[in-house]
């Protein structure tokens, strides 16, 4: 059969042959053919090895085991081990008279026994471990024990039992740790054996016992350490023994196992460690290191020295051995040396630092396993003092490394740079280098973090954007392009005007159109993905306001994408186009520079320590009804809504708040606020929630239009908006809203002051005072009279006040008394607000306000969040 299978040229042929064979075997099983049973099973095993299902043969195994003859049993057990595994219950006879059969049974037990079997058979195995010990005889004078005893005496060959039994015990205690104590005594007696096979298994059993049971560890430590040291000494000094000799060393396996058990015993125990010092020194110095076997012993010995209690001299010896290993030409030896040094670094970092140069060489090795080890080691080696040269080395190597290694390498470099960077400029420099070399391998959160850092380093904005501009000329790596586009959008003016030059920079001249060129290239490049293109669009919009001279050109670029097949880009293109052409007055505010991103929150969020990000979830819930999922925008939204956590009066420019305010106002009469989840949260959360919807728009306007389109989708009765909404492009509602937002229905109010007035807002230009009153019989409602006073020496025109409140509040704004505010406090504007608090008595009022006006024909924006309302409103 094997020959037939081997003759098959294709997988299909092979399958056919196997199927035919299986059919034959099944037929033969059905006929209950005694003679061919073991042959069938052998065939089945082969088929099994080829990866075909053979479950129908399992019963055959058991039948074979149950039969009397040795050949049948032998193949039966083999089949048992191969075809079955732990999950099946099997019964095995350990009480047989033939030692080989018991050996087979034990072997099978050792290889496949499950926890239940282990529990059941443990006493039997234990007895077999003990059969030579006359003391236990008294305790365990059970029939089976005697049976074994007499049988063993008769055969005179007890060794063959003990070995498998000991290893079976290992498996048993691994499966059922609470049986461990039963094995301690017999295991200890095994350590006194002379026969190497028994000794090896005994030592292994002891090592595993120590791992599962502290009691056993204590016992062996007290009773056996000296004996083991003596055994090791004997083995080390033993004369040539041909039976066990490997490359001139007597039984390296025994050496290694002895050393391992000594390691377990010596760990955390000074006396035991002391006891083994001499022999360890002897092993470390005497063992030949020109063959693999010798090196294996040295390796184990070093590991033992490193883990037992402190001994300076031995440690030096061990580190020297590792140094020798590291300079070895054999890759295997180098690999284990690196492995070992990683453990040694916790013990003696200084000594490992000495080998830094060699380790760095290993990072550049051609072997992936060695590279990986070395890189991990380098990562551990780095500290504040050596981070600069080491990072330089790694980045230099990044240029020439294999493609598949670059991913690992960049990840490590990035975390090194982030962890140890001594100053921001260095961090930015290194990150730019990494991005230039291997930007495609950089993870999203890494470049997000970089943007956060850049935005925080206000004195480096100019430097960074210029460096990015230069890097962009030479590299096309995706994440580099993204960061560059973002920075050019934000700080394009700094790029052109060479603001904030550092001494180390070469001066460069970039014209406005050069900067626009960069972004245009990105948009038109085929390799740029959606995120990059979307980012480029936003950058263009921002540049259109920063560089008025290029505005027309930018408009043309944007218009080209009006018919783009990607919905996201098309939408963006139309929206931005309308902003550029129709809404000059708000554009500058809309594309104002981003507020400084809060580093701590970003890190916190990345670590998942922030409570569930309310804002993000809201944004997505808005996106879904619209049918436009924008995973590409998510990172930006994420970055953006960090600013919510920054102190309130940051000036977040943009029509977002406009729209949000409008929504807040206009939607409030609606019974059900579309797109917002009615989540019962505390005031600030809800406020954040609301704000975060408004915040993304300064960057993209996308969420706003989504809110609007979700309004469309839901067809909710939003009275003031209804007439304005038309089911055309999403951009239309935005425009309409913007055009018509000044129209508000008038509602007269009465005032009766029962609460103290507060100064709601005060800046160098303007003061806002709130007077409160409550209408009779309606404690939930508060009437607020807002009084605005101009503190500056110029008069304000086009004065507009807006306010937004969280969901548990409803706000109604009356028209203001005027839209011109004379200079120097020579007059005031008053405006009435009506706030209904649905959580009256539980939560107090909160409000976010925005004041826009023109001073000397320049747009000015003031913003603030009000938390200081009197209680009980």
């Amino acid at each position: 059969m094997i020959r037939a299978i081997r003759a098959c040229k294709t997988a299909a042929e092979e399958r056919a042959v196997v199927r035919k064979e299986c059919a034959a075997i099944r037929a033969s099983i059905n006929e209950n053919d005694q003679d061919y049973r073991h042959r069938n099973l052998a065939k089945l095993m082969f088929i099994h090895m080829l990866g075909y299902p053979t479950h129908f043969g399992q019963m055959e195994c058991l039948k074979l085991i149950a039969s009397a003859g040795f050949p049948e049993k032998r193949i039966g057990y083999l089949g048992l081990m191969l075809l079955l595994d732990e999950r099946q219950e099997v019964l095995i006879d350990l009480n047989h008279t033939n030692q080989y059969i018991v050996g087979l049974a034990l072997c099978a037990l050792g290889n496949i026994c499950s926890a239940e079997m282990a529990r059941d058979l443990a006493p039997e195995v234990e007895r077999m471990l003990q059969f030579r010990d006359p003391n236990i005889r008294k305790k365990n004078n059970q029939l089976t024990y005697l049976l074994y005893k007499s049988e063993i005496k008769r055969k005179g060959d007890w060794k063959n039992f003990t070995k498998p039994a000991a290893l079976c015990s290992i498996r048993i205690i691994k499966k059922v740790p609470d049986l461990a104590e039963n094995f301690i005594n017999p295991a200890a007696s095994l350590l006194k054996e002379k026969h190497h096979g028994v000794l090896i298994t005994g030592i292994q059993l002891c090592t595993d016992l120590c791992k599962v049971s502290a009691e056993a560890l204590e016992y062996f430590r007290k009773k056996c350490t000296e004996g083991l040291v003596k055994t090791l000494k004997d083995v080390v000094n033993s004369p040539y023994a041909p039976e066990y000799d490997i490359a001139g060393i007597t039984d390296p396996f025994l050496h290694i196992r002895l050393l391992r058990l000594l390691r377990v015993l010596g760990q955390g125990d000074a006396d035991a460690s002391d006891c083994m010092n001499d022999i360890l020194a002897q092993v470390a110095t005497k063992t030949e290191s020109n063959k693999n076997a010798g090196n294996a012993i040295l390796y184990e010995c070093v590991e033992t020295i490193m883990s037992i209690e402190d001994n300076g001299g031995l440690r030096v010896l061990a580190i020297n051995i590792l140094g020798r290993f590291l300079s070895n030409r054999d890759n295997n030896i180098r690999y284990v040396a690196l492995n070992m040094l990683m453990k040694a670094i916790t013990v003696d970092a200084q000594a490992v630092q000495r080998h830094r140069a060699t380790i760095l060489e290993c990072v550049k090795d051609s072997d992936a396993s060695i590279r990986k080890r070395a890189l991990e080691l380098v990562f551990l080696l780095i500290n504040e003092s050596n981070v600069k040269p080491l990072t330089k080395e790694l980045i230099d190597y990044l240029e020439v490394s294999d493609q598949e290694f670059k991913g690992d390498l960049t990840a490590k470099i990035c975390s090194i740079v982030a962890k140890f960077s001594p100053e921001k400029i260095w961090y930015i420099d290194q990150m730019l280098k990494v991005l230039t070399e291997a930007g495609n391998f950089v993870k999203d959160e890494v470049w997000h973090a970089l943007i956060v850092v850049i935005s925080n380093a206000s004195d480096l904005h100019g430097y960074t954007v210029r460096a990015l501009y230069r890097a962009f000329q030479t590299s096309e790596q995706e994440s580099l392009v993204r960061v560059a586009v973002w920075c050019i959008g934000e700080y394009g003016d700094l790029l052109v005007n060479n603001v904030g030059m550092l001494d180390i920079e070469d001066p460069i001249t970039v014209t406005e159109s050069d900067a626009v060129d960069v972004v245009e290239i990105v948009i038109q490049r085929h390799t740029s993905d959606l995120t990059t293109k979307a980012m480029a669009f936003i950058a263009l919009l921002k540049l259109s306001s920063r560089f008025p001279s290029c505005s027309e050109r930018i408009k043309e670029i944007i218009v080209q994408y009006k018919g783009n097949l990607v919905l996201e880009l098309q939408q963006r293109s139309i929206e931005f186009n309308s902003i550029i052409s129709k809404h000059q007055n708000i554009r500058s505010a809309l594309v104002e520079r981003m507020p400084v991103l809060d580093e701590a929150t970003f890190m916190g969020r990345r670590a998942g320590s922030m409570p569930a990000t309310v804002s993000t979830s809201t944004t997505t819930s808005i996106n879904i009804p619209n049918g436009v999922s924008k995973p590409s925008m998510a990172p930006l939204v994420d970055l953006l809504d960090l600013s919510d956590d920054a102190p309130a009066p940051t000036s977040i420019g943009g029509s977002g708040d406009f729209l949000q305010d409008l929504l807040g106002v206009d939607l409030s009469p609606a019974p059900n606020q579309p797109g917002l989840k009615p989540a019962p949260q505390n005031g600030t959360d809800v406020l954040l929630d609301l704000l975060s919807i408004g915040t993304p728009p300064p960057q993209s306007d996308s969420s706003t239009s989504d809110i609007l389109s979700s309004v469309q989708d839901n067809k909710l009765p939003v009275a003031p908006l209804d007439g304005l909404l038309s089911p055309s492009t999403p951009a239309t509602p935005v425009i309409d809203l913007l055009d018509g937002f000044a129209v508000k229905p008038p509602t007269p109010e009465n005032n009766g002051s029962a609460f103290p007035s507060i100064v709601a807002f005060e800046s160098s230009l303007l003061k806002l005072v709130f007077n409160f009153s409550k209408p009779l019989g309606n404690p939930q409602t508060t009437l607020i009279q807002a009084t605005f006073t101009n503190l500056s020496s110029d008069s304000f025109t086009d004065f507009i006040f807006q306010a937004a409140v969280p969901k548990f509040l409803q706000l109604h704004l009356d028209p203001a008394s005027g839209n011109t505010l004379p200079a120097n406090g020579n007059g005031s504007i008053t405006q009435n607000l009506k706030v209904s608090n649905s959580q009256h008595g539980k939560k107090s009022l909160v409000m976010r306000i925005r004041i826009a006006f023109k001073m000397n024909n320049k747009d000015v924006l003031e913003e603030g969040q009000l938390n200081n309302f009197p209680h009980g409103l």
């Binding site: 083999l78 595994d85 290893l167 290992i170 090896i200 292994q204 890759n331 284990v336």
Partner: protein, 161 residues
Amino acid sequence: MIHFVLLISRQGKVRLTKWYSPYSQKERNKVIRELSGVILTRGPKLCNFVEWRGYKVVYKRYASLYFCMCIDQDDNELEVLEIIHHYVEILDRYFGSVCELDLIFNFHKAYYILDELLIAGELQESSKKTVARLIAAQDALVETAKEQASSISNIIAQATK
């Protein structure tokens, strides 16, 4: 501890598998596929260790066969190399200059020898002679059993004539 032993030919055919940790049939096939992909593509001068799913796989090539053993992270890799060599030497002695074909047609014998060498993923015998002796003794038992069977059937055959 050794989690499994694999013998894979140069062409990626499996010649012997022994699992000391529980893996379902599906997982086994997956493991074999993954590992043969990794190991067979490695160059000759590279080190004999591959890190894989938190374990280490130690492999060594003898002629056209790769002997692979999967061990824990903190086991001694050099020793496992030595165990592989030990196994190969015993096979060599048993078959008399072993080749891949020996292992294909006598795969059960390769299993017997492996069972004498390793149990439950641990080494049980460091002496080649002992292993050889045990295997020989068991083979002899099988032979005598067969002879008995055939002599009985001969007797029966003669009696029925």
